[in-house]
């Protein structure tokens, strides 16, 4: 909300929460704020939240939070409408930020084939679906809250700042930072494809805390050194770990593309491996 708008009215900021194509996990994370949900409804004028309410009013908004990828003409039209009537538009969750797992084949360009594989030759009476893309492929996105799903506390911090008219603070460090604080043993040295070095932090390295390698579900961190990660997994001989196995480039790419979406596809496109065939 701009300072001018704030002066004009002491009304609560108008907020809308929407879902395009996805698992609704980010909206669910908001509903999962059991101890804060009454405060959220007290601090913001929640005009629309289809997953939780039926008396929704679709008008001008100070803040729109949008989950999900654009995967149908309906999604695209809805997103464009939300953008037109919102001062600030925030992508919440991996699908909205990067395209999500449904964009895992973004590099393959085979959406029509895959659609036929699942649905057969049926002629749909509803509009043709679209290959999954993040919100930024169609409209201007002001901020992103990453994650699969979003982290409850990161969301509450962002919303707290937004209702006071401040900008949310994005996390700019990778999962490894939190993993080091948690004193985990590095899983890269245990011959696991761990995506912690290139994945945006904020999850408290939860998977590695459980001995499970990072699957990259929060998407690429700002300035992710994707070439470095790939090089390390595919080509590295580490003097201290002679038993390290090197991975096939395709396997590393598959892993990075699980949650990296179109953002990771662009980053991987720029990777030039020394001596290895791409």
């Amino acid at each position: 909300m701009s300072p001018d708008a704030q002066k004009q009215t002491k009304q609560l900021p108008k907020v809308g929460i929407y879902g395009l194509t996805g698992c609704a996990g980010d909206q669910l994370t908001i509903v999962n704020c059991e101890d804060q949900i009454l405060d959220i409804f007290g601090a913001a004028d929640i005009r629309s939240f289809l997953m939780a309410m039926s008396n929704n009013v679709e008008g001008e908004l100070d803040v729109a939070l949008v989950e999900g990828s654009v995967s149908s003409q309906g999604d695209k039209a809805m997103l464009e409408d939300i953008r037109k009537r919102s001062k600030i538009l925030i992508a919440i969750g991996n699908c909205a930020c990067n395209g999500g797992p449904q964009a895992a084949c973004a590099m393959e360009n085979n959406f029509k084939e895959r659609f036929k594989q699942v649905y057969g030759d049926v002629k749909l009476s509803i509009p043709e679906p679209l290959d999954a893309k993040p919100l930024s492929a169609y409209v201007q996105v002001d901020y992103m809250i990453p994650g699969c799903p979003i982290d409850k506390w990161e969301f509450l911090r962002a919303l707290g700042r937004l209702v006071k008219g401040d900008a949310p603070q994005p996390i700019r460090y990778p999962v490894c930072v939190e993993c080091k604080y948690n004193e985990n043993e590095c899983l890269l040295f245990k011959n696991e494809i761990c995506l912690g070095p290139i994945t945006v932090g904020g999850c408290d390295s939860v998977c590695i805390n459980h001995n499970i390698p990072c699957v990259g579900c929060r998407g690429p961190v700002t300035e992710a050194n994707v070439a470095g990660e790939v090089e390390m997994l595919v080509n590295m001989k580490h003097p201290h770990f002679p038993k390290r196995v090197n991975f096939d480039y395709q396997d590393v790419r598959n892993r990075a593309m699980m949650y990296g979406g179109t953002t990771m596809a662009e980053l991987l496109d720029k990777v030039k491996l020394k001596g290895a065939k791409k």
């Binding site: 994370t29 059991e34 309410m53 797992p101 939860v206």
Partner: protein
């Protein structure tokens, strides 16, 4: 021609629309449209590793993420010849109970009760029904805490894996969960009584077929390899296609299922109808107190069935904890082969969920996932039609028709993300 349409079904997960076409006093067409864009999950993991498949497929649905996880693990363990240790099986039951509590509390208190008490949402109920809202949120939070403890986080946790768990909770953590149950059981009993004394409309009642997992040893439960139908037939879950018979309809991105050419219902009401007599404890007493032949005919009773299951899941937790604390943390069971076929079936909160796989040389070769809502669509449309025909003949107003149909849809607790938004009435 006139069309009554609910464009965006509220208080459900995902995008659905309901449309009813009317000519004069006759209903000519009823459609439950799923407008959630297709995500083609069954193609995403082909050629990738079983562990990659296991990470991605629970992202189909946030609410039943752990049901997807468990079904996927069970299918993949069959493919790879993995014999998971007892502690892993008990942990899977524990996390499924946590998910049932979270999902049922969310639906019963926050999504369905507002309909039944005449409010647009649960927050608006706080003034008159503060206890119900607070108790619902407390139960939901408890369910989430169980899911978090078992899987690493409330949604899409990665701790459950092939052959066991990355890390097991400590006995202190398990006892902390068990200690909360006693205060929560009276909440669940109260909501069973609220829903049990509710009056539901009779005009669309019609008997249907129910399907659910059939746990061994005559027990009530959420995980099994055998499927039981209310007509007495039993199937191995590997033969799931004989029950589900998926087909594509032109007005929806969601596939549909028919059993012997007729629609059927899965979910809490199916489990309570098929297995309710096996319930013990307070859940068993509540089942006996309210059981009714109308349960076989009216989907609105799914709300009551969920409340009884809420009680069942709460009572199950201390039992599981007592067994878990006796067992040492086992290492992950290893795959004994790299190729094979297998199907995992579980009872997700909304019904039977199948994950059927084929793995060849350590890569996913075939992925088939049948979700509960996909199986329920045909029956939801059937009840829409029965209700709409009566309401149109009786001259109900469009808004009243719309509201009734939305209530039927919400009673099914449809998880549209899983298959793929809501009610339109067209008058010609």
């Amino acid at each position: 021609m006139k069309e009554i349409k609910v464009e965006h079904l509220a208080r459900v997960e995902g995008h659905g629309a309901i449309s009813v076409e009317i000519e004069g006093k006759k209903v000519t067409n009823v459609k439950f449209e799923v407008l959630e864009g297709p995500r083609l999950f069954e193609t995403i993991t082909l050629g990738k590793t079983p562990l990659e498949n296991l990470s991605v497929v629970p992202r189909i649905c946030a609410i039943c993420t752990l049901s997807h996880k468990t079904a996927s693990i069970r299918g993949l363990e069959k493919c790879l010849g993995v014999d998971a240790p007892e502690k892993a099986h008990l942990m899977r039951e524990l996390m499924m109970a946590g998910e049932a509590i979270e999902s049922h509390a969310l639906h019963v208190y926050l999504l369905a009760l507002p309909d039944l008490l005449g409010y647009p949402n649960a927050i608006a109920m706080v003034g008159k029904y503060p206890e119900a809202v607070i108790q619902g949120l407390t139960l939901k939070k408890f369910g989430n805490s169980v899911m978090e403890l078992c899987s690493g986080r409330a949604t899409h946790g990665e701790n459950p894996t092939i052959g066991g768990f990355g890390k097991y909770p400590t006995n202190e953590q398990l006892y902390a969960i068990k200690d909360q149950v006693d205060t929560l059981i009276p909440y669940a009993k109260d909501v069973v009584d609220i829903l049990g004394s509710m009056k539901y409309p009779e005009f669309y009642e019609k008997e249907t077929v129910f399907a659910c997992c059939n746990p061994p040893n005559n027990e009530y439960g959420l995980i099994a390899d055998e499927i039981i139908l209310s007509d007495g037939q039993k199937f191995d879950c590997e033969d799931y296609k004989k029950i589900t018979n998926e087909r594509v309809v032109p007005h929806s991105y969601a596939k549909r299922s028919l059993y012997k050419g007729a629609p059927f219902t899965v979910g809490s009401l199916a489990r309570i109808n098929n297995l309710g007599s096996r319930l013990k404890g307070e859940a068993g007493e509540m089942y006996e107190k309210y059981k009714s032949p109308r349960w076989k005919k009216n989907p609105m009773f799914n709300n009551l069935a969920q409340a009884i299951e809420l009680l069942y899941a709460l009572e199950k937790i201390p039992e599981l904890v007592d067994r878990l604390v006796e067992l040492k943390d086992p290492p992950l069971a290893k795959p004994t082969r790299s190729s094979g076929k297998g199907t995992g079936a579980v009872e997700a909160p909304r019904g039977t969920l199948y994950h059927s796989y084929e793995v060849k040389d350590g890569r996913m070769a075939k992925v088939d996932i049948i979700t509960p809502t996909a199986q329920n669509y045909e029956d939801i449309e059937k009840y829409f039609r029965l209700a709409a025909e009566h309401m149109v003949a009786e001259g109900w107003k469009d808004d009243e028709i719309r509201f009734q149909l939305e209530m039927i849809a919400r009673a099914y607790d449809p998880c549209i993300s899983c298959s793929a938004h809501l009610v339109k009435v067209v008058r010609k």
